[in-house]
């Protein structure tokens, strides 16, 4: 028996996420975006959220001013209109990270590490406000893990042990975030009868706390 709980609705799955929480949100653009879980959070009008995701297209949350801070790599483009508006009004702040640094900060948190060193961004304004260290004559930025209370991910198929398989390029940040928070909630398109083949599982149910089947 794994500890994965299978819940009846997205609303049940996010019912305890409090105001002011930091949440990891999977997806790259619309691919793999956990829109049902985010929609359920928006229905509860949870506020003061810090949302960590590759993009900033959390329109359902911006509509009522639910977000205090966005941590992302790409806050512009057609789906970011809502964010740019709240940013302009000074109602939310932005922490911008190169995509690879962003995902590694998430991964190292899940891996129980204290951070990592990278040369990406050295000599550019992306290195501003970051501690630097020299090792063997090379300059590195010190990158700290991103600590969140919840991870919301989207997968394709799950089994009753909470094992997940992502579909195509919807794997993206989902497979990383699924191991990176104390409470991981997955919305999936299908929960199969019985169990998935252990050789083809992308995320073990050992990482998944809550599972909900949704309609897309």
């Amino acid at each position: 028996m794994t500890k994965t709980q299978i819940l009846a609705s997205a609303a049940d799955a996010v019912a305890d996420i409090p105001n002011g929480a930091t949440i990891l949100c999977g997806g790259f653009g619309g691919a793999g975006y956990p829109r049902n879980l985010i929609g359920a959070l928006a229905s509860r009008k949870v506020t003061g959220l810090t949302v960590v995701a590759n993009n900033a297209g959390h329109e359902a949350l911006f509509r009522y001013g639910g977000v205090r801070k966005v941590v992302c790599s790409y806050p512009v483009g057609p789906t970011s209109k809502g964010f740019l508006e709240v940013l302009e009004r000074g109602e939310a702040e932005l922490e911008l990270e190169p995509q690879g640094t962003l995902v590694e900060r998430i991964r190292t948190q899940g891996a129980g590490l204290g951070g990592f060193l990278t040369q990406v961004g050295i000599g550019t304004e992306l290195a501003e406000n970051k501690q630097k260290i020299e090792i063997d004559g090379k300059q590195y930025l010190i990158c700290k893990p991103i600590e969140a209370q919840y991870a919301l991910v989207k997968a394709w198929k799950a089994d009753h042990a909470g094992n997940l398989v992502y579909r195509h390029a919807a794997r993206n940040f989902n497979a990383v975030m699924a191991s990176a928070a104390p409470i991981v909630i997955a919305e999936v398109s299908e929960i199969v009868d019985g169990y998935l083949d252990p050789d083809y599982i992308h995320t073990s149910g050992a990482f998944i706390d809550r599972l909900v089947m949704v309609n897309n």
Binding site: Y74, P75, A169
Partner: protein, 214 residues
């Protein structure tokens, strides 16, 4: 090899074909958003494996109408396909591949490139908000960075400069620049001409502000 006609600037299609011919067939190549996309089709035709940083190795051409799949998109979030032999990977693996030296070439657009290979291509000076996406990781991590761009900005200024005025994406990374006017390489002090399009002269480019080697 020569490309294009004798007395005309190169078209985008011709630039894409030339880039594809300069790529070794066994390279893994990331093709950036915007102008570099002209290289996708000719690279696909040569069978070169393409990487998309959102998690695709073996990026194929755009799908035919009716065959779009919302779970198969490229880094620009356009619908894409996957070629035989391709693979889906997660984002951490994708950027490990980039930083770890497995990506042979990143083709990127540019606002400016300096004589020492500095690249500015993510935020225009004076603009508050822009997306960095995977640009800094790609520019730093790829084994080679080649640029596909127009040689001149809309205001007529040369994009090849002594020193970048826009915020940098990475320092000292650009190896070659493909433009409608010709192909150039930064040598630390200026830009070396590799090839010029029909009717273009180094003298004329120098007059228009392109810092070329003598």
């Amino acid at each position: 090899m020569t490309i294009g006609s004798e007395n005309a600037l190169w078209t985008m299609k011709e630039i894409g074909s030339r880039v594809a011919l300069d790529v070794e067939s066994d390279w893994l190549v990331n093709v950036g958003i915007g102008m570099p996309q002209v290289a996708v089709e000719p690279l696909n035709e040569r069978g070169v494996m393409l990487h998309s940083e959102n998690g695709i190795i073996g990026l194929g051409p755009s799908p035919s109408p009716g065959n779009e799949d919302p779970d198969v998109i490229d880094a620009g979030k356009g619908f894409a396909t996957v070629v035989a032999g391709g693979a889906f990977i997660d984002s951490a693996t994708s950027f490990s591949l980039i930083r770890g030296g497995r990506l042979d070439l990143a083709l990127m657009g540019a606002y400016e490139v300096s004589v020492n290979g500095d690249l500015a291509n993510w935020r225009l000076a004076g603009r508050k908000i822009a997306g960095i996406g995977g640009a800094a990781d790609l520019a730093h991590g790829a084994r080679r960075v080649w640029i596909i761009t127009s040689l001149f900005a809309n205001d007529g200024a040369s994009k090849l400069v002594q020193q970048c005025s826009h915020p940098l994406t990475a320092k000292g990374v650009v190896k070659r620049i493909y433009t409608e006017q010709g192909i150039f390489e930064p040598d630390g002090a200026a830009f070396k001409v590799v090839a010029l399009a029909g009717g273009v002269t180094a003298t004329e480019l120098a007059i228009r502000g392109v810092p070329l080697t003598d």
